[in-house]
Amino acid sequence: MEEIQVIEPVALHGEMLKLRKEKQMDYLVSLVGMDWGDEGGLGVVYLLRSTLTGENVSIKTATKDRVAPELPTVSDIWKIADFYEREVFDFYGIVFINHPDMRRLYLRNDWVGYPFRKDDDPEKENPLNMTNESTDDTTPEIEFNPDGTIKKQENVIFDDREYVVNIGPQHPSTHGVMRFRVSLEGETIKKIDPLCGYIFRAIEKMDESLTYPQTLALVDRMDYLSAHQNRHALCMCIEKAMGVEVSPRVQYIRTIMDELQRIDSHLLFYACLAMDLGGLTPFFYGFRDREKILDIFEETCGGRLIMNYNTIGGVQADIHPNFVKRVKEFIPYLRGVIHEYHDIFTNNVIVRERLVGVGLLSREDAISYGCTGGTGRASGWACDVRKRMPYGLYDKVDFKEIVYKEGDSFARYMVRMDEIMESMKIIEQLIDNIPEGPYQTKMKPIIRVPEGTYSAFVESSRGEFGVFLESHGDKTPYRLHYRSTGLPLVAAIDTICRDTKIADLIAINGSIDYVVPDIDR
């Protein structure tokens, strides 16, 4: 990873604004909270990227104050920083000055302490609390007065006159345990307040006490529909850090598996979107063909949904002798039946009424919120990591990056359907040429990553998945942060849904395609 610039908190906001304006750093990839102990203090690492030049910049800032740590906010520069800073506040207790909404993002409102700090003991102070959580209608904000003193202020999210409907956490259309509070005026949505954390398992905190091979197991379980890609990213990051080169055979296997996983995920997306809109037949179509991919996975990896296949330096086992044959049978089969998908769903009048022109997300908002993947590409933002920063074998294969201009639900749906075709094209180019070679590079029994910070990015099924690793030379990571693909989508849902009808919220939710355990981690 390139050098990390250090900027003092006082100058941070000005410098950031300069980067945004002069160097066109319009995409905030990640904002990682850090605890460097007593010497380094509490701080944040910002990963920035320019969508014009593709240049990456990383910046870090820290404050020594552990009792009341304060940093300036950047949520007025990048919209996604709103949620990221709330996450950092939740985990590290860093208060961001001028941030309009300093509530906890994942944990309960009455949680004691900040669990990701190295000196915090969350289990002791927070036994299982079976009382129902009360939700706040106001949020605290901390501002600077002109003379440098601090002023506390309350912002109102929903006032007493608003009609607020609660959706979730147990609701079939939220695709997991997501919760929305929706303010309505008649049928029109005025504001949405997403509440996350119902499946927050503290994977990042657990990783800090696990060895590197052990951390691999938990990545699969975040975005289980991109299990291969997620694991690919973490393995790639550790391999990069250790200077390990994987054999070409492994590169081929990984790339093919990633693309099969993408088809699998998009078929499930199709099935779920159709079911959200009330159509059951497309659901059966999607699952019928998905099972065929799962069979292929099962034969080689042993698992259907969670494969645990990639390892540091290779893959767990060689591909099954039937693998090539079955993949080559599957692709012509899917090409033959995909027209059924379009006949029953895409060209349906009701579907078009529900999806075309609904839930618009502009290109600027998509970048500012960091909505990558199909959602970003449907808004005209060419953000495919496979093209921008090729990894695996993506620079050797020929495929098209699907970009739509409309930014509505229908475009988001079509991006995914077209990507299935592109993924099949990639697999067809690779499947015949898998080279011979070892499937696993020999590694030491105990893996230690040299000191430093490392990052790796892959295009998972639903956007840019990133791994940020800080190592202090131990056999466990000092800090491992994952860039969630779903959190930006949920952050943007308020913007997408404003002034649409409440019934369209369900369709929009289906079309932006998030996985909740990936948001909460």
């Binding site: 079976m130 129902n132 345990v177 379980r221």
Partner: protein, 207 residues
């Protein structure tokens, strides 16, 4: 990472138990041998036959296992064969709750409330390692180590996530459990377990 070629002994469920349908059937006979009323006993059989073949699950999924639950509803595995296909979105209409996925501390009161909202008789199936014991997240500070800490569980289905076949095995075990219940004759009504009180944070409670 080098993988040792020594084949480890995999701890697993004893395979004989999968074929063991007799134990439960013998148990039914034993229970009935105590002199169940012929009329009421027969009535029980009819009721249990109906109830066990139309168990309606609540669509409740927090993570990975939920996707396998969806696969169960699709054509290949087709849980309609066993009468589970009527997945309800409202706890008021469901007979059983399949806890598919990790239950975190924040979710625990919500799950308890869902369980309380279901109408009796109700059953709980803990699906997957997370719901059984915390699974891979056992050491996390924000994960409940097993849903049996919050609500009573009838059947455990281990796996991460369990294969659809294990789902079926678990659900058929639940059917057997339902079949030996007695509503009219005998005394083995579903035993009442100790309730874990949930208090609502109302104005009165706060005082």
């Amino acid at each position: 990472m080098e993988i040792k070629k020594k084949t480890p002994k995999i701890k697993s469920i004893p395979y004989e138990e999968f074929q063991d349908n007799e134990t439960l059937e013998n148990m039914v006979k034993e229970l009935n041998a105590g002199g169940a009323n012929i009329v009421l006993g027969a009535l029980d059989d009819v009721v249990n036959w109906g109830r066990s073949n139309s168990l309606w699950p609540l669509t409740f999924a927090t993570s990975c296992c939920g996707i396998e639950f969806m696969a169960l509803g699709a054509a290949r595995y087709d849980m309609a064969r066993f009468g589970f296909e009527v997945a309800r979105s409202s706890p008021r209409q469901a007979d059983m709750i399949m806890v598919c996925g990790t239950i975190t501390n924040k979710m625990a009161p919500v799950l308890k409330r869902l369980y309380d909202q279901m109408a009796d008789p109700k059953y709980v199936v803990a699906v997957g390692g997370c719901a059984v014991s915390g699974g891979p997240f056992k050491k996390s500070f924000h994960v409940v180590n097993g849903v049996d800490k919050i609500i009573p569980v009838d059947v455990y289905i281990p796996g991460c996530p369990p294969r659809p076949e294990s789902f079926f095995y678990g659900m058929m075990q639940l059917q057997r459990k339902v079949k030996i219940e007695k509503f009219f004759g005998g005394r083995n009504k579903k035993e009442k377990r100790e309730e874990i009180p949930t208090t609502f944070e109302t104005e009165e409670n706060k005082k």
